[in-house]
Amino acid sequence: MTGKPGAAAGGLYLHILVLAIVIVSELIGIQRLSIGLGTVIFLPILYAFALGIMLNPAIFKASAKFLSKDAVKLSGAMITVAIMPFIAKFGTTVGPQISKIIEAGPALVLQELGNLGTILFAFPVAVFLLKMGREAVGATYSIDREPNLALIADKYGLNSPEGAGAMGVYATGTLIGTFVFAIMPPLIHGLGIFDVRALAMSCGVGSGSMLAACTGGLVAVVPDQKDIILALAAASNILTYATGLYVGMFVALPLTEWLYNKARPSERKTA
């Protein structure tokens, strides 16, 4: 055990390292890159995540000297703690805009069902184009964040093909989700087809980092609509927290199962 930092010291190093990463990321600030179709937005949260990965003890061996296994575990616990002030700040944007939110109410509630768009789009790609097996059910029924992954674990177990599919999308989403959600909305806004309110209220997919990336990107390209973008995104994210698990359990997963059985009748499980 000699040479390894104690639990308290490891925790202290972790917070100091995070502080350093945060300062560097905020100093770089928001960067814009104009391409033909629109603007690609790079946000400080992206640099922070990328720097975190680069200094992660599993990647950068020298970090293991400062960050013990316990410190990495503490870092995992700190994600949920550190996202809370952000979520609270997000909530405070809703109150002042409450009448506009109610005005957009039907669209706001019904777009939750639009999250089923993953099945419409990703399921055919997985099953017909990539010829995936039952992994496709776990992979495509939802965006596979924590509650969705828990549902798959509960229903099929994570050792199952469905579990492998869900874990794969979970891990990939964790690694590149922030990036995808920072880049995509400004580009879609650049098409000039959709109401910016629709782009904003779709940001709530049940992941704090994806929410931050999505709204950060939109506010960077439409700064004068900042207040309503934040308020709608916050409201939709709360709706997803409240309904996501149930939509997954009672609609998305049965629908994906049914589609899979239709697509591959020969594989049908004898129930």
Partner: protein, 171 residues
């Protein structure tokens, strides 16, 4: 085959699969960790926007209290709602026009940039990834990467199309 199944089970040990765990959280310990997170958030806000931590402090104090109350609700209310949902609801409630102090709260939190407050969480997130998570991503292969991108695009665009349609209908 049995071997591979075993590895998957081991890999899964590190995944955050127990949302119910919030029922057992130690609110006091979390209050301390949250204080660290808020301090780093104030510095992120300072570097990112130039707003002095002293100016932003009252707003951050309000957010801190909202978070603690939210954690308490998630822990003690007899039905389950994630703490982030409670925190959001409290934050909304205290800023609705007409609620006592709402104008003051809105004015104070205006000194805090929402994006700067997310930066610390992402830094912790990058450092928290375990070898298993990298291993799952590597082993799932390129097909899963394509599917994951389709899942994210599909989830977002599905909502955009439905929302846009109903916003137009509502006008």
């Amino acid at each position: 085959m049995a071997n591979q199944t075993n590895t998957t089970a081991n890999l899964a040990d590190d995944l955050p699969l127990n949302p119910e765990d919030e029922r057992k959280i130690d609110v006091v310990k979390h209050a301390g960790l949250l204080l660290i997170a808020c301090a780093i958030g104030l510095i992120a806000n300072w570097v990112g926007t130039g707003t002095s931590p002293l100016v932003a402090l009252p707003g951050m104090a309000v957010l801190y209290v909202a978070c603690i109350i939210g954690l308490g609700f998630a822990r003690f209310v007899p039905f389950y709602l994630p703490s982030v949902a409670w925190v959001s609801l409290i934050a909304i409630l205290i800023t609705i026009p007409g609620v006592p102090g709402a104008a003051w709260v809105s004015e104070q939190v205006e000194h805090l940039n929402f994006l700067a407050l997310a930066t610390p969480a992402l830094a912790y997130g990058g450092l928290a990834l375990t070898a298993s998570e990298f291993a799952i991503a590597r082993r799932s292969g390129w097909k899963i990467v394509i599917v994951a991108i389709c899942v994210m695009v599909g989830t977002y665009m599905g909502s955009v199309v439905v929302a846009d349609l109903f916003l137009r209908l509502g006008q």
